[in-house]
């Protein structure tokens, strides 16, 4: 367990979920340089004065736009934490927030612990002891809350699974340590091939957990759906139907020339966020072009795209081809609307609906869910990763296992393999709150006859 006060920490500062704007806060000595790495604006933020606001873009590793943002710069000691800090105001989408935070982690930030900004504020003398005591209470209550959370089924299953994997890893480690500390004993030492196989199995299971993250995220944050179709195929009617019948909440994403309508609807416990796009036709009109760009971005960021047609104008091949250039084909659901006008339509679409009568809408959401979550089905009995911190720990554990396997391949002696196995254990231990290193010795004493 490390507390790295010199680290740059990042977290969403506003409530997660619905909101027009999200504010992401970054703090730490190197926070400004770090944001400069992902921010493209008129000037470098390191050159900016404290308490100034700058418009610019957050760019991903492939130099593609994540979001247009406003960035506030606070220089030490004149910030909430007393350190160099940045606040990024992005559009209020949990997907965008996630991408920006992931991008910042990519360039060296780490996710803040609960209450960590306040803790730093206190440590740097920005708030007094009474306030800090209040924070200590918060830290503690959050821990208790997360303990309670651990008892709920999702997290409980994950803990069980991770605990199981960690125990398997401790078994493998024990085999290696046994040979180092008890070479004199009359014991049969393990072949490294066997350890290799064990590590491979553990890594396979870790991979499986990592792959549930998408599902876990969706359970937590919902499915992002872009609605694409030619004018008048019934996009608005579909949204209106949901608004009326399914009590959807509508909001607009501001700050763009052509606002995108966003609608959130909860069906069977899963949150769907539908984005009505402005169209993706080629255009010379400057204002319209901005709208097109915005739509394309929405499509790229969506988990699923509804491609809406209607029985009257038929399937729009040209638009479909265009759409395929922005997103993977298997993410697109072909839907035909207005089947109340022609119940026997021959148009070849996966889902047939009527936004007027509501026919087929439930099927549409079922298909949406399948598409987003993928062919892999997770029952309530599966361990699911939904927390980015857990994902991070699993990824690190995987990397350490890779290192250990590499050491085995290079025929290095056990103590070198053990270094990475120990790190992998501690990464898994972070998820379940176990950090002791005595477990290996205990395991050896339990399983092997030691002692002359």
């Amino acid at each position: 367990m490390f507390i790295q006060d010199e680290d740059t920490i990042v977290a969403l500062a506003t409530a997660s979920g619905v909101g027009a704007i999200s504010v992401i806060r970054i703090s730490g000595e190197k926070s400004i340089e770090l944001v400069d790495e992902v921010f493209s604006g008129k000037i470098k933020l390191v050159d900016a004065h404290t308490h100034t606001i700058h418009y610019g873009k957050i760019i991903d590793s492939k130099n593609e736009l994540i979001d247009d943002v406003l960035v506030s710069v606070f220089k030490a000691p004149h910030s909430y934490t007393g350190e160099n800090s940045i606040e990024i105001s992005s559009h209020g989408s949990s997907l965008i927030v996630k991408k920006i935070i992931e991008r910042l982690i990519e360039v060296g930030a780490r996710l803040a612990e609960p209450g960590e900004f306040t803790k730093r504020a206190f440590l740097n003398g920005r708030i007094d002891l009474a306030q800090a005591e209040a924070v200590a209470d918060i830290i503690n209550s959050r821990t208790e809350a997360s303990l309670r959370g651990a008892r709920n089924q999702l997290d409980g299953l994950l803990s069980q699974k991770v605990n199981f994997l960690r125990n398997s890893l401790i078994n493998s480690s024990s085999l290696i340590e046994l040979e180092l500390d008890f070479a004199e004993e009359d014991l049969e030492f393990v072949s490294l091939n066997k350890v290799m196989n064990q590590l491979q199995e553990i890594e396979f299971e870790i991979d499986k957990l990592i792959s549930t993250y998408n599902f876990g995220r969706i359970i937590k944050d919902g499915i992002n759906v872009a609605l694409v179709g030619k004018p008048n195929v019934g996009k608005s009617s579909l949204l209106n139907y949901l608004l009326k019948e399914k009590r959807a909440i509508v909001s607009e994403i501001p700050g763009t020339t052509r606002d995108i309508i966003r609608e959130e609807v909860n069906i069977d416990g899963i949150l769907f966020t539908l984005y009505d796009t402005a169209g993706i036709r080629e255009t010379e009109d400057v204002i319209e072009k901005e709208g097109v760009n915005r739509s394309v971005e929405t499509i790229k960021n969506s988990d699923v795209v509804i491609f809406l047609n209607d029985v009257q104008s038929g399937f729009s091949n040209k638009l479909f081809e265009k759409l395929k250039t922005y997103t993977n084909e298997d993410r697109i659901i072909k839907v035909v609307n207005k089947i109340d006008l022609d119940p026997n339509t021959k148009i070849n679409c996966e889902v047939k609906i009527s936004a007027k009568t509501g026919e087929g809408i439930d099927t549409l959401f079922k298909v949406l869910k399948e598409k987003a979550i993928g062919s892999e089905t997770y029952s309530e009995k599966s361990a699911i990763v939904s927390n980015i911190r857990h994902l991070d720990a699993l990824k690190r554990a995987k990397q350490f296992l890779e290192n250990a396997k590499e050491s085995i391949k290079e025929k290095l002696s056990g103590e070198f393999i053990a270094v990475d196995l120990r790190n992998a254990e501690s990464a898994l231990g972070e998820i379940i709150g176990r950090v002791t290193s005595d477990d290996i010795l205990n395991n050896i004493f339990m399983k092997f006859c030691i002692g002359k």
């Binding site: 002696s413 070198f416 120990r422 709150g433 002791t436 290193s437 030691i450």
Partner: protein, 625 residues
């Protein structure tokens, strides 16, 4: 009334190091021991070192301690364990001549200036205002002191068992120490009971040696101490050990005696070590194992005794006898002394600080088995730390605490204080998170500076190390940029049957190949005229260090990164009088453990079992107020 700066209770492995180091640092020291000929007597196996224990001996040696020297002078078999593995787990081990070891230890102690041997036993300790002021002995003498180091081994209320037969004593044929425990408990200390055992001693001439598997020592034995002159080593003729095994038949006989085992019937309440189980324990817990390995270790050059390593027991004598005679090679064996178990008082070590001074009474130090450890090396490691600290305190100098990332001794004491295990604590390399850095070969590079600072290591030796450090650093940097040509090195590679190089390659890179040593590479580098290369080839100690650092560069680097991460937490101090009951928000268990251990730093606090990460966060918040 006699007066000493330091009184050391006990002349065992902890007592020797404590008394000698404090005396060499200029304190007047009294070593109180019942029998001066028992100084350095090995209670259990006649051996020093082994996995992780060899590391401890090298560390004690680098600090200026005596154990390595005495072991080198009295060893009758030397081996380096784990030689097929990497240098971090190489560990020296020797069989000692039990008698000579004790004679040599007594000679070392007797010849130490400022050190007086008092043949007596301490029955009471005195304090004034929570400061130690003196002791009373069994003969009725009162002696004043400024510091008291208790190294009582298994003697405090020692009780030896063979079957239901219990004898009071601290070691075979020696009386126990009575009174001191009670005196310490009266001061407010908490005591507990631990148990350990020792195997039977057999008559050498009654063993059928011809049919046993022989285990000789190394052909080119390595001494423990860097102060041992290589040309005189080994001092004594070298002997072999032998190996035999138990059988299902033997196990059946042992089982017959289980109803008279003081362990199984609950007579002994103390907890024994899991890594050193009695033979009856092994038979019960590993019922599916058909045989257990036993070592026949010589007790000395002219000794008639053989130590049967692996057969410790507290079963009745007749059962031991019957079982022994069914073992291969022991068909006609004569048992000179049966195995016995011993139960003794210890003081759960959360009561001492990292200096080994007790938290309750100033000037009072505990070292060795009294802190719940097992093993001569673990005891000696604590002894030297306690002795040095007692002297430093009297001289009003800064205390001496070794960290986990620089020594096994640091790991040992940190574990003891923070974890307070309920079984005798033995060192293992896996206990050290920085194992790759804590090697025998670099013990001097890690610790010699302290030995020198305290006046326990001669200046010349320290200067020599400093020169070597410069050579190591220079060579390391040089070889990490100097290229070697295919022309020069390819013949060697071809000879070894490994891939040749097409272009010039960096020396630091080519030496990472497991088949190559740095020496070979340099000799075939075409750099025969290079001054640095010549210098390094003439300095095998430096050469070894450069080779290890180059070969395992990536791993060593990663360990250093881990050290740096941990250092941040180690640097945040917690005041000793910190009141954890003010922290309403930390967990109940965390609060209890923290109040008990009173950790000095956040790092230490974070390693205490039962203290959660969130407890640490809260503590951090409070501390910076």
């Amino acid at each position: 009334m006699r007066k000493f700066d330091v009184i050391v209770v006990g002349g065992g492995h902890a007592g020797i190091e404590a008394a000698v180091s404090a005396a060499l640092m200029g304190c007047s020291v009294a070593m109180v021991t019942m029998d001066k000929h028992a100084i350095g007597r090995m209670s259990c196996n006649p051996a020093i070192g082994g996995s992780a224990k060899g590391h401890l001996v090298h560390e004690i040696d680098a600090l200026g301690g005596m154990m390595g020297l005495i072991a080198d002078r009295t060893g009758i078999q030397f081996r380096t364990l784990n030689k097929s593995k990497g240098p971090a787990v190489w560990a020296g081990r020797c069989q000692s001549d039990r008698k000579l070891y004790s004679v040599e230890a007594e000679r070392v102690v007797s010849n130490t200036k400022n050190l007086e041997i008092v043949e007596d036993s301490v029955v009471e300790a005195f304090e004034e205002n929570k400061k130690i002021v003196g002791v009373k002995t069994a003969k009725g003498e009162e002696i004043k002191c400024k510091a008291l180091v208790v190294c009582s081994g298994t003697f405090l209320n020692g009780l030896m068992y063979t079957g239901f037969n219990a004898t009071k004593g601290g070691r075979f044929g020696e009386p126990p120490a009575i009174g001191l425990t009670e005196s310490l408990v009266k001061m407010g200390f908490v005591s507990g009971r631990l148990k350990t055992g020792t195997p039977p001693r057999l008559l050498k001439s009654s063993i059928n040696w011809d049919i046993l598997e022989e285990q000789p020592g190394d052909e080119n034995p390595e001494p423990f101490s860097m102060r041992t002159p290589k040309d005189e080593f080994p001092y004594l003729p070298q002997l072999s050990c032998h190996i035999t095994y138990t059988s299902p038949e033997v196990h059946k006989i042992l089982e017959k005696g289980f109803d008279r085992s003081p362990m199984f019937t609950g007579l002994i309440s103390g907890v024994g070590p899991r890594y050193c189980p009695s033979i009856e324990d092994k038979v019960v817990r590993f019922a599916d194992k058909e045989r257990h390995q036993l070592f026949l270790e010589p007790e000395g050059l002219d000794s008639d005794l053989i130590y049967l390593n692996g057969f410790s027991s507290s079963l009745p004598v007749e059962i031991q006898y019957e079982a022994l005679r069914k073992i291969k090679g022991l068909e006609d064996v004569e048992m000179v002394r049966p195995a016995y178990a011993i139960e003794y008082d210890f003081f759960p070590p959360y009561q001492v600080d990292l200096t080994l001074e007790t938290k309750l009474i100033e000037g009072l130090y505990f070292a060795g088995q009294i802190n719940g450890t097992s093993g001569y090396e673990e005891a000696a490691g604590q002894g030297i730390v306690a002795g040095i600290n007692a002297a430093l305190k009297i001289q009003k100098r800064k205390e001496f605490v070794l960290s986990r990332n620089e020594s096994y001794i640091g790991v040992l004491i940190d574990d003891l204080v923070g974890k307070s295990t309920d079984e005798p604590y033995r060192m293992f390399t896996s206990r050290a998170e920085h194992r790759l850095l804590l090697r025998q070969d670099n013990a001097d590079r890690r610790l010699l500076k302290y030995g020198y600072e305290f006046g326990l290591i001669p200046e010349e030796m320290y200067r020599d190390l400093q020169m070597r450090e410069i050579l190591i650093t220079k060579s390391f940097d040089y070889f990490n940029q100097k290229r070697i040509s295919p022309l020069a090195i390819n013949p060697l590679l071809e000879l070894k049957g490994i891939n040749k190089i097409d272009n010039g390659e960096i020396i630091g890179k080519i030496v990472k190949r497991p088949e190559l040593s740095l020496k070979e590479v340099l000799e075939n580098s075409g750099l025969n005229d290079d001054e640095l290369v010549i210098k390094l080839l003439q300095n095998p100690k430096a050469l070894e260090q450069v080779e290890i650092e180059l070969k395992y560069e990536g791993y060593i680097q990663r360990q250093y990164e881990l050290v740096e991460k941990m250092e941040k937490l180690e640097k945040i101090q917690i005041p000793l009088n910190f009141n954890y009951f003010n922290l309403k928000t930390i967990s109940a268990e965390g609060r209890e453990k923290l109040s008990k251990v009173k950790p000095r730093t956040i790092g230490q606090a974070s390693r205490i079992s039962g203290v959660t990460p969130s407890d640490i966060s809260i503590l951090l918040v409070y501390l910076k107020s």
